[in-house]
């Protein structure tokens, strides 16, 4: 059932109406500002949105970071210079957070230094293996693709709550252990175990997203290259290391950078799963920012803003690295 020729013409005419209405305006504008400057007019809506919702908040954050008091309105806050940064960076020995004025911040930094590489490597490793498996002609391939992507569609809070129910003292996992005659395990009360479960749950929750990207990358590799390798009797490992990985490198790079940025920003799942504990063993930087700015009384917006800008600087470095690496990959 398609539209006949008359219907299509009518729809085209309707779709062209806004353009026709704007044509005289744009023509007039072009004659005033010149054709070279006209692209800025097209960019203006996007630039406005970026300025309002990205640049302005960053500037406001800078303003908060150099002002003090528990008041929210900038006009009611006092300029304190770099006091908040000095408080955060005041440390006897950066390797021993207990010697730092804001030890919780440095504990969060230390945790992040361990969490990010562990989580990113696990994430990419599992996602790659899954993508390779799902790229093969296996039974119920569509079903498995859906299964692996399913957690991505869930809210992070739902993901974390599900795992809390599984891992808590009277949770399903201990229930199964009990039924089998084993002792119950304190999955979330032991700092080491809680950290590992935090890595696992965040990998479980986001792996599907990276799997899909890698799957798309794998499918873009021409099949004839694999056929040629097969004719040359190349081993599967050699095919993987000499064909798959090199050709997947640009996609892997994107996945790596996205995974690192997402990992540094991890908050929701761990907030629900462990609240940053036991102690501070799973507290990450965003959690520290949230607690400082929004959970404890009185609110310390200045300190939270300073911490978030330091985090922003770290993310900026990663983004710059991504751009540099992707440019290098393109050029050479």
């Amino acid at each position: 059932m398609g539209l006949d020729g008359g219907g299509m013409r009518f729809l085209r005419a309707v779709a062209a109406l806004p353009a026709r209405a704007l044509e005289p305006v744009m023509a007039g504008l072009q004659s005033v500002i010149g054709v070279r400057r006209l692209p800025w007019v097209f960019l203006l809506p996007n630039l406005t949105i970026v300025a309002l919702f990205s640049l302005l908040p960053v500037l406001v954050n800078v303003l908060y970071s150099v002002t003090g008091s528990e008041n929210l309105y900038p006009s009611e806050r006092h300029f304190v210079g770099f006091d908040n940064y000095a408080t955060l960076l005041d440390c006897g020995n950066y390797l021993d957070p207990s010697t730092c004025s804001r030890d919780l911040f440095w504990r969060a930094v230390r945790n992040a230094a361990l969490f990010v590489p562990t989580q990113v490597l696990a994430m990419i490793g599992f996602a790659l293996v899954t993508a390779i498996a799902l790229n093969r002609r296996i039974r119920a391939r569509g079903f498995f693709r859906g299964i692996f992507f399913f957690p991505v569609m869930l809210s992070p809070v739902v993901v974390a709550m599900t795992w809390v129910w599984l891992l808590q003292r009277d949770g399903a996992l201990n229930g199964i252990l009990g039924t089998l005659g084993f002792e119950r395990v304190t999955w979330l009360s032991d700092p080491g175990r809680a950290f590992k479960w935090s890595v696992f749950v965040t990998v479980w929750g986001h792996m599907g997203f990276y799997t899909i990207i890698l799957l798309a990358g794998l499918q873009s590799i021409p099949a004839d290259i694999y056929e040629a390798a097969k004719m040359d009797r190349a081993s599967p490992w050699r095919v993987f290391t000499r064909i798959t990985v090199p050709l997947l490198k640009p996609v892997l790079l994107v996945v790596f950078i996205l995974a690192v940025i997402r990992s540094v920003q991890t908050f929701d799942e761990i907030y629900v799963l462990t609240g940053g504990g036991p102690g501070t063993s799973t507290k990450l930087i965003v959690h520290y920012i949230y607690e400082t700015g929004f959970a404890v009384m009185p609110r310390n917006y200045g300190l939270a803003a300073a911490a978030s800008l330091l985090l922003g600087a770290v993310l900026f470095v990663f983004t710059a690295l991504q751009m540099r690496l992707s440019r290098t990959g393109r050029d050479g």
Binding site: S101, T274, G275, G277, P278, T280, P298, L303
Partner: protein, 399 residues
């Protein structure tokens, strides 16, 4: 337009307030009270941000009485001030947020809550262990709870809500001052003794790690369901849980709210609870005040306490007593037990409750004690950090 001007928004953590709002609207035709049921976490975390931005409800339940005092509407122009002063004398001071010279009337509270201990009497009987009498120390309770748990193979001897407020009861019992006369944090031997005992109970298995040891930061957590399911011998929570006992436990086991365990200094439970306050930003201060006066009316307070048994605040209700018609004999005995603790509350507990930086101190205590439990800090370092955390909070709010 006139109808819009006669509307207010009220938020609270229990739906009983909605019943009162409906009754108020029936008695005051032409007025509109929109009720919002919110979580306790929202009261603690979202409300302060809303207030700082000049928004939020016209009336709300608040837990941090002193910390938010600067946003409260002074009700004196709109209500019978003498009635409020007579009925709510004990809470008006803490609600003034340390402004000692103020005589503002900032709100009302139908009931106060008290921290306190619940014990499973059935388990005590089964174990053949006598229930410690009034005046028993925390150590004696811990010892008795351990013996009962061992004899009855109960999972946990003792539990305490993960809350700085609950821990303050233990600390003040051992002589902790927590705050001095000038509003500065105090870290003394009393606080450290309480921390050492608390840590030792976690190390030897008297208390499980699930509450204080399993989460970090200032997160509030309770496991009262453990008590209701007979999994713990002694639970230190508070009077707000009483209303659950009849429906949740009934006759499944025998239980009681017991006298406050003692330390070397006193036998203390912390007072607390929610107060209802109106905010300065309300466009309808007269209506907001009228609603609070309505909640403060004796018959309405009796009605609310009849639905949800708790310790009354109003002087008249204390003097004349309450019937609690829907409550079981056990709940009434528990209420009587909680009420008996009130005269024992030392000045340090009231001073801490009315301190503007109480929440900062409580957050610091939960965070730092949890760090000791997971071997990140020792007790002395943790105590020093508690002081430092609160001092930073004070400094940053005064900048």
């Amino acid at each position: 337009m006139a109808a819009a001007a006669q509307g207010i928004t009220v938020q609270a953590i229990d739906s009983d307030v909605k019943l009162m709002a409906d009754k108020f609207m029936r008695e005051n035709p032409g007025t509109r009270v929109d009720f919002r049921l919110v979580s306790f976490q929202s009261i603690l975390e979202s409300l302060p941000v809303q207030l700082a931005s000049g928004r939020g409800p016209d009336i709300s339940m608040v837990a941090d009485w002193a910390g938010l005092a600067r946003y409260y509407l002074d009700l004196r122009p709109y209500v019978d001030a003498r009635y409020f002063e007579r009925e709510f004398a004990s809470i008006l001071g803490p609600m003034r947020g340390g402004a000692a010279k103020s005589d503002a009337i900032n709100g009302m509270s139908g009931s106060m809550t008290l921290n306190g201990a619940f014990v499973n009497l059935t388990l005590f009987r089964q174990a053949g262990v006598p229930v410690p009498k009034e005046g028993a120390t925390w150590d004696e309770w811990a010892e008795a709870a351990r013996r009962v748990a061992k004899a009855t193979r109960t999972e946990m001897p003792m539990e305490m809500d993960r809350s700085g407020h609950r821990f303050a009861s233990l600390a003040i019992s051992y002589g902790a001052r927590l705050v001095d006369g000038e509003g500065n944090p105090v870290v003394d031997e009393g606080l450290k003794t309480a921390m050492r005992k608390f840590v030792a109970w976690h190390r030897d298995g008297t208390m499980p790690m699930d509450l204080w040891g399993a989460v970090g930061g200032a997160t509030h957590r309770d496991n009262f369901s453990d008590f209701m399911n007979g999994k713990v011998v002694f639970y230190f929570g508070g009077s707000w849980s009483l209303y659950k006992m009849d429906s949740g436990v009934g006759d499944l086991f025998d239980w009681a709210a017991v006298d406050a365990p003692c330390g070397t200094s006193s036998c203390t439970v912390m007072p607390g609870g929610g107060a209802m306050v109106a905010f300065k930003h309300t466009p309808n201060p007269e209506l907001a005040a009228r609603f609070l006066a309505f909640l403060a009316r004796e018959d309405n307070m009796r009605e609310a306490l009849g639905r949800r048994p708790n310790v009354p605040v109003a002087t008249t209700l204390i003097a004349t007593g309450l019937e609690y018609p829907g409550a079981s004999e056990r709940v009434r005995e528990a209420l009587a037990s909680f009420t008996r603790q009130v005269p024992k509350i030392p000045p340090a507990a009231y001073a801490f409750q009315g301190w503007r930086y109480q929440r900062a101190a409580m957050n610091a205590m939960t965070t730092r004690i949890s760090q000791v439990l997971t071997h990140e800090l020792d007790v002395d370092t943790a105590a020093a950090f508690i002081k430092k955390d609160v001092e930073l909070a004070i400094r940053s709010s005064r900048k």
